[in-house]
Symmetry: C3
Subunit: 273 residues, 3 copies
Amino acid sequence: MLGKCLDNVRKTMPLVHNITNYVTVNDVANVLLACGGSPIMSDEPEDVQDITAICGGLNINIGTLNKRTIEGMFVAGHKANELGHVVLLDPVGAGASALRTNTAVKLMEELHLDVIRGNISEIKTLALGSGTTKGVDADVADAVTEENLDEAVVFAKEFAKTSGSIAAITGAIDLVSDGQECYVIRNGRPEMGKITGTGCQLSGLMTAFLVANPDQKLKAAAAAVCAMGLAGEIGWNLMQEGDGNSAYRNRIIDAIYHMDMETLDKGAKYEVR
Amino acid sequence: MLGKCLDNVRKTMPLVHNITNYVTVNDVANVLLACGGSPIMSDEPEDVQDITAICGGLNINIGTLNKRTIEGMFVAGHKANELGHVVLLDPVGAGASALRTNTAVKLMEELHLDVIRGNISEIKTLALGSGTTKGVDADVADAVTEENLDEAVVFAKEFAKTSGSIAAITGAIDLVSDGQECYVIRNGRPEMGKITGTGCQLSGLMTAFLVANPDQKLKAAAAAVCAMGLAGEIGWNLMQEGDGNSAYRNRIIDAIYHMDMETLDKGAKYEVR
Amino acid sequence: MLGKCLDNVRKTMPLVHNITNYVTVNDVANVLLACGGSPIMSDEPEDVQDITAICGGLNINIGTLNKRTIEGMFVAGHKANELGHVVLLDPVGAGASALRTNTAVKLMEELHLDVIRGNISEIKTLALGSGTTKGVDADVADAVTEENLDEAVVFAKEFAKTSGSIAAITGAIDLVSDGQECYVIRNGRPEMGKITGTGCQLSGLMTAFLVANPDQKLKAAAAAVCAMGLAGEIGWNLMQEGDGNSAYRNRIIDAIYHMDMETLDKGAKYEVR
């Protein structure tokens, strides 16, 4: 069951190296601590090899990339690959600018990525491998719905196969596939989209889950998606008068903090296709 | 009425490009989501043209400027001007260092800025166009009070006329002028000054308001100031035992999240001179 | 008594220049405001001299150092020394990478540092002056406990003597020494370790305390440690159903916001050896 994957995080306390955007970095650090992992942030090319070497996984998020941090991503990624560490890519805004698209594509080409986690528009951009310009939020026209779900599952599997990475495509319905199987996940709440960085947080969390569950990475990725969505449901139920997106942000991290194996097993809503 | 300006933000969901400091950037993102807008952060010169092109407005905040991000501000600003987008400047710390003053002055010279939003000390520095060294908070001696209000209104109008930008001078009493009219606003609470970044948040919010109300920018700027101050009042009324400046920060963003047209119309405290 | 040191912060409102990591910078700013100080962040080499000149103290934290900000640390540090300002070093991750260790060692060599505040593993690394590779959290094997306390006190005194700086070594038991005396402090809660940045916050707070108490820096450093730990205890007592590490973060800053002289005097748990 998926709960066991969370349990393994709490037991092994994986150290995760994050090269991530400065918008949501504090929340990424706190959610990693909440799930039982331990975060380190470092983006200076001269620093990242040493830092990634003492970690179990590397979370690369291009949300506020610059030329120096892009170099850091490649240097750290190569080192992490060399050491057999988990590497995750969160291609924030791929499709919104040429630099973002090209950086994400090049990271895919040069590195072995265990997971690529993004919204459907970002992943579609990467599937095409070129820079059509959209936004950083998923395009409504792209959204995975009950109506186009079959097609979306095929796309997720295909992208996973072609890229050689687990595809974690998150939105109202989440898809997590390794090319063979596809988890279809229905946890979460639409209000999570009104908080900055729930996707970034999920990427940090997912990296920790994979590090702690090296023999079942697909299940670990799916467990992280369920845990984040379930935290959104639990946090929502604790909302009080006047609470809005800022309180909700705290409540979601707090729900991860308190989540145990049984809660996750009971609350996870998924099917495998 | 001002409430309509908020309503237009919620209806049009303006995308705002922020080049802003890393201290308060998360709060800026969350307040933009709270009001119905959508934030994107990007400061790499090679990235900003593409990003600003898909947005409706650009919020430039020099709070933790560096040489790379300064270049990004100019590149993005020129592109935004070329596309006729809303551009706002928040000259954080103008007067506190030569680099900040000179950068702000040069941005004023090279770009068309729809709004310049700062505290009275920053705006006075820009009015002089030179680098007298003060702090990042407004100098007490400069503060707009009931006693010097007439004089301050004249200054605000004059600065707006000379600069060609709407002047939004915020403090205990806020002044928003386009050179002809001046909104004198008395929303807000002094405790907001004990939270880092309420000014930065207002700049993000204001950019969204202007994008959503292109035909009445002065009113939109004033509406944003009233909304932020009113959120400070509403948030304060929800404070519970033990709550301090950190809880207050969350409550203000949450108050923006829940604010509707009627609440803003009823709560806005302003006169036009 | 230590409470007086807090009172002096509230009375003098010291301006603190922070060159600190982008992970926890917002919390550092808010805790500085909470204690009665005022934060400014600036890391651009061309900006830091002017900024540090208008401040009373400089807080250098190497948590997400890069080559540009390292240069900023040295430029600001030399200027602050020249002006006789308080300078504090938080050597985040010293021992975890060569760049971090070498940067911290070089800052110690080139600057007069009033305080070096870190966990026991970081301080041990600096005592050796070389780059053994550990993590950013204290190594369990290094932890100060009741069993090895005598030895740890000797180490703290020795490090303070050798370095010429007050040593503030924080963990389950905190040690603050100027080489002659050593405060042994038992405030705080283990759950504080599940929040990112309580150490960074303490470094900001401590800088403000030293600026406000120039004639009793050792006592001021100890008072800051007690205040932070006590805030952790007070905040914990206010935790409600569902609250986790994210709520706790807010509650600790809020406890600093409400803390007065009497509360600190009554709640501080320390002995001087």
